[in-house]
Symmetry: C2
Subunit: 336 residues, 2 copies
Amino acid sequence: MDAGGETAAPATGAETLGSLGETAVLGRIFPRLPDAASALLGPGDDAAVVAAPDGRFVVTTDTLVHGPDFRLAWSSAFQLGWKAAATNLADVAAMGARPTALVVALVAPASTPAVWLEQLADGLREACAALAPGCGVVGGDLSVSDTLTIAVTAFGELEGRAPVLRSRARPGDLVAVCGELGLAGEGIALLFARAVDDAGAPDAARAAALRPAFDRVLDAQLAPAPPIASGVAAALAGATAMLDVSDGLALDARRIAEASGVAVDLDAAAVGSRMALTGGEDHALLATFPAGAALPSGFRVIGRVRAGAPAVLVDGRAFDARGGWDPYADWDGRVG
Amino acid sequence: MDAGGETAAPATGAETLGSLGETAVLGRIFPRLPDAASALLGPGDDAAVVAAPDGRFVVTTDTLVHGPDFRLAWSSAFQLGWKAAATNLADVAAMGARPTALVVALVAPASTPAVWLEQLADGLREACAALAPGCGVVGGDLSVSDTLTIAVTAFGELEGRAPVLRSRARPGDLVAVCGELGLAGEGIALLFARAVDDAGAPDAARAAALRPAFDRVLDAQLAPAPPIASGVAAALAGATAMLDVSDGLALDARRIAEASGVAVDLDAAAVGSRMALTGGEDHALLATFPAGAALPSGFRVIGRVRAGAPAVLVDGRAFDARGGWDPYADWDGRVG
């Protein structure tokens, strides 16, 4: 069902959510959304029915709001659909689960072009195809509001395994990460520094001018590609704790430290930069493994779990992201 | 965990989402939310884990947006929390499923008082307790935006039964409804007629002045109490098709007619009024049963399924909600 163009006439730019109405717009969007292999009953009734073969399902929800979470001058519809899927898939992966399905509650201004909504659906579809094949959209809701808002709820299956919590890291465990750190933070810093107009407002032309030189950091920010399949791989390799690095490595490492009652000691050289330590929206997977575990492909060791009061250390010294000792002061100054 | 006052200091009116920050506000809200009996892992990690004993789960999502879906001058926070839960629970019930859990994505202005958010949580909790005991909140997300938006995703279990679809009504079936028809439509018509200021804007004082004389229709609109448990009862009684009446009986009956390839012939006297036929937001359950089935408690017969082109008939004559023959013209004129 991913070839929407074959089953619905292409939208023209003049058609909007308001002029077409919800039913007609849904008719445009649904053929573009990905099927879920786990769907026993897909969209179209009061509710969908999804398979949960081991008698449990994993569920998480995360919302993207225009303004705080994205700016239309910088993000295309395709990128927003992609990011809304990817960030939720990463939360499922961080439990050691395989993503199975999404539902999408979209709230958009009546003036939103139908073609824009189609491109958002394309982004959802392509993110599922690239990051979590078999995962699809089983339901949704479309409403009208002045503020564009995309609320995704994502599901996964644990395939008989225990979920990987934040609270089971043990002294002596290795701390490892899979995925990029700091690139998304570099991307947003770059956009705020160089893709705003003279009044400081986000500017599409200036953002476009940053490509292709800054493709890597802009893509990490605008259309991240978290290592979704590595969540299951980490669980199979015996990960003791895991989470999705969404608010910066230091802050998310602190969440493991506090939930597990341990200190997390990071290796500054292995982490690599101040931005890798504190930049947000990486959606990398941060996990702890028993010493001697064979780490799954893609994971690299960046520290060690130590006994002690819950804290994040860098090279053995207490690290406070809001001031305090800063191992990367020079690098930080370069990106503002 | 439903006695939030015992585990968190009461919020004062001066504290807002913006002044307290997301983490502190979540600390206020979570103790007030209902536990889900089906939660294997509740809020606090990247995702929750919910039991699905028969290897499937039902899922639906519906959003309330300030402006199109509610007005703060008319709805209290408690009522909004209640309605957001109730409307989603009704969609689960309409599949013949028992509601198990909710996730809530709340987007609110930074100026929103913390106590308002607490009252919203109270409404979610009390709706679950009253309408679907055992159903609770397993996760959520809190974001900031100018437009207050509440996106709820609800889950249910089918307990080994087939879901009751819209598409299996058969000629000869009885058409029956459980729950009130038309009251919610009367409520919104009353509010727009008599609870607006001289410029036509929603007015809280004028809405308050309508109570207690109009409690019944205002409550049906602002804090509906759909017959959630009757969804399972209908499935057990052999319902062939069912849906949640959200857009008015005539329009939702048409959905069954079109999905099933039948005509639905409604009895004008049994339906009772024009508003019962066309008013929205009833969240009653409309179902079809084989002739001779023992209807579950609360269901009343309002028509019959007939062979023929998909259509809604009233007393055997084609009914078109947008004009055409109107069996209740006199009554309609009375509420405007």
